[in-house]
């Protein structure tokens, strides 16, 4: 699940993966492990840790931690526990959200729907459609050589029990298809090239 979220005048790219009972969340590439509990319809309790690239669980004393795992990529389900934050989300003005973290409130705007790579793609040159999250290829909607137009659906990836359509950012021609229906892919795997 991918979000584009504006806070304090900056756009942040957020990718959410479900891992075990919790979530792995990337914010502009920085990876967090998040244990989420819902307190009420507006209030979340998050217990978080930053996951370093080697997949360390972020324990305070890793050297003596028997539960420490070696780096095995981003989708380890780490040992829970860590910083605890209460997050309260309420509606602000102009369709923005007010997100309170502990005692500090942020005004944020989010697109509110699953975003795909094409939303943030450049304006010309070849496009490569990559998997935004780990998942399974449900359907490939185009063939090599097909002409496609901007925002045309190209491929459907299932992740977190949701089907996500990935679309073309602009007009072009399908130059390559790297996957078949039914296969599982990791986040970032190349799926389709368009010229």
């Amino acid at each position: 699940m991918q979000y584009e979220i504006e806070v304090d005048g900056r756009l942040r790219q957020v990718v959410v993966h479900r891992v075990g009972d919790g979530f792995a969340v990337e914010v502009d590439g920085r990876r967090w492990q998040v244990d989420l509990a819902r307190v009420d319809s507006h209030t979340l309790s998050l217990i978080t840790g930053v996951v370093p690239p080697n997949g360390d669980t972020g324990d305070a004393t890793p050297a003596s931690d028997s539960s420490r795992r070696p780096g095995v990529g981003p989708l380890v389900s780490p040992r829970p526990g860590g910083p605890s934050r209460e997050v309260i989300v309420s509606s602000g003005t102009d369709g923005r959200l007010v997100v309170r973290v502990g005692a500090t409130a942020f005004s944020v705007a989010l697109n509110g729907r699953r975003r795909t790579d094409e939303m943030v793609a450049g304006t010309d040159g070849p496009q490569r459609i990559v998997a935004p999250m780990p998942g399974k290829i449900v359907r490939v909607l185009v063939g090599v050589g097909d002409a496609v137009h901007a925002r045309q659906a190209l491929i459907v990836v299932e992740a977190m029990k949701m089907e996500n359509e990935l679309r073309a950012a602009r007009d072009g021609t399908v130059a390559g298809i790297h996957v078949k229906e039914g296969v599982s892919v990791e986040a970032g795997a190349p799926l389709i090239d368009i010229l």
Binding site: V7, S91, V98
Partner: protein
Amino acid sequence: MKKILIANRGEIAVRIARACREMGVSPVAVYSECDRTALHVRYADEAYPIGPSAPRDSYLRIDAILDAARRSGADAVHPGYGFLAENETFAAAVRDAGLVFIGPSPEAIALMGSKTAARAAATRAGVAVVPGTEGPLSPAITEPELTSTAQAIGYPLLVKAVSGGGGKGMRTVTNLRDLAAGVAAARSEAGSAFGDPAVYLERCLIRPRHIEVQLLADEHGTLVPFVERECSIQRRHQKVVEETPSLAVGPPLRAAITSAASAVARAAGYTNAGTIEFLLDEDGRFYFLEMNTRLQVEHPITEMVTGLDLVRWQVRIARGERLDFDPAQAMIPRGHALECRIYAEDPDHNFLPSPGRIQQLRAPSGPGVRDDSGAAAGLDVPIFYDPMISKLACWAEDRASVVARMRRALDEYVVTGIKTTVPFFRWLLAQPEFVEGRFHTTYLDEVLAARAGRSFVEPDGDAEDIAVIGAALQSMLSSGVSRSSAQGAAVDGAALRWKARARADALRR
């Protein structure tokens, strides 16, 4: 006294109703149109509507309030602060209706309510006043007369409303060039705020501290002064933080200033609760400023360090009871107390009022915390009245501890749906000048001017990441059903980016 009508609204009406309940007296509320579901109405035993929302149509309507008193069968009226609390006509009308006015006599209100008459009374009592004109400026004063009067007092000077209060009808004038305009502006504001455009001139002391003395006086000649409060943290002449005792006052000065306060109150034949305000200059000299002939907003901090319930004593004095406690209890503070006035204002946008509906409200609690609130989740903060939603007061063994406790309490305070001044107080209580007590009545305006609108929120990077994560997860959890995500979907990527850019530009300004 079986039933007290509370001629006020909001937190102070709730505060008085609580005192009534604790005394076995039935509290009666009045309410304007927009206050039908306000906390003070729900908390009272009875409630009577007194008119439309604008104060002049309801909370300032003496006839409507007396009619409600008569209908309810109340035998006394408590005016709270603001509205009709310092209106001698109201006090007299209550008395004439055969009811007890819980406050001083109309005569004492009239005397001390006029700032110029009060200055004269202080002078007669042998207490220094801030140098200034003896009476109000004549409405027909000529420009040369005004110029020479101002010259005699010296610049900078203050133009102040004779009937003023709360920083309204007040202008600072730093030189001759701004004099006429300042007088005109103050007159206009005073006329619309207090129905009396009369103003006078007073010298503007350099970096004074605001020190005030709470008093109680019974109807049998006993008058008790209390340990001072300091209210130097003011924004545009309005108090925002109060504390007691003052770091600037030691026992000798305390003895002198409370004696002076007692002398002024005695000279005015004062009864019930009142407060005498002084300015303390950098050389330790103090000057009578004015008297507030009513319960003060900041009374809770005095209650915390003395253990005396001021509202309860107001009622007891009005019942003719005697002040029978040891006066030393009022003068020797235990520990230190601090109050922050929580306003529905946006501190990051020049403290503009932020009315609206409170979505969630979670007040701090635990040791040493007292929240006197008129707000509740689901309630609207109306546009018609002072936007203070609560007074957060803390007590602790010493000043350093009470500052730490207040910071803890502010961190606990959750109000969503509207903006509040909580983030501003979190910033203020971290300033070295505040922590060390190095401030005066213009400290806050100066430091706010120097900040030039910079946000009071200085988040760590992690908190911002967590906010982004929380927004994403909340959106995911409420996907499809939440209003916010639907709104978000209507904004396409380009528009969102454009808005982000515009907002970043705005923040840089």
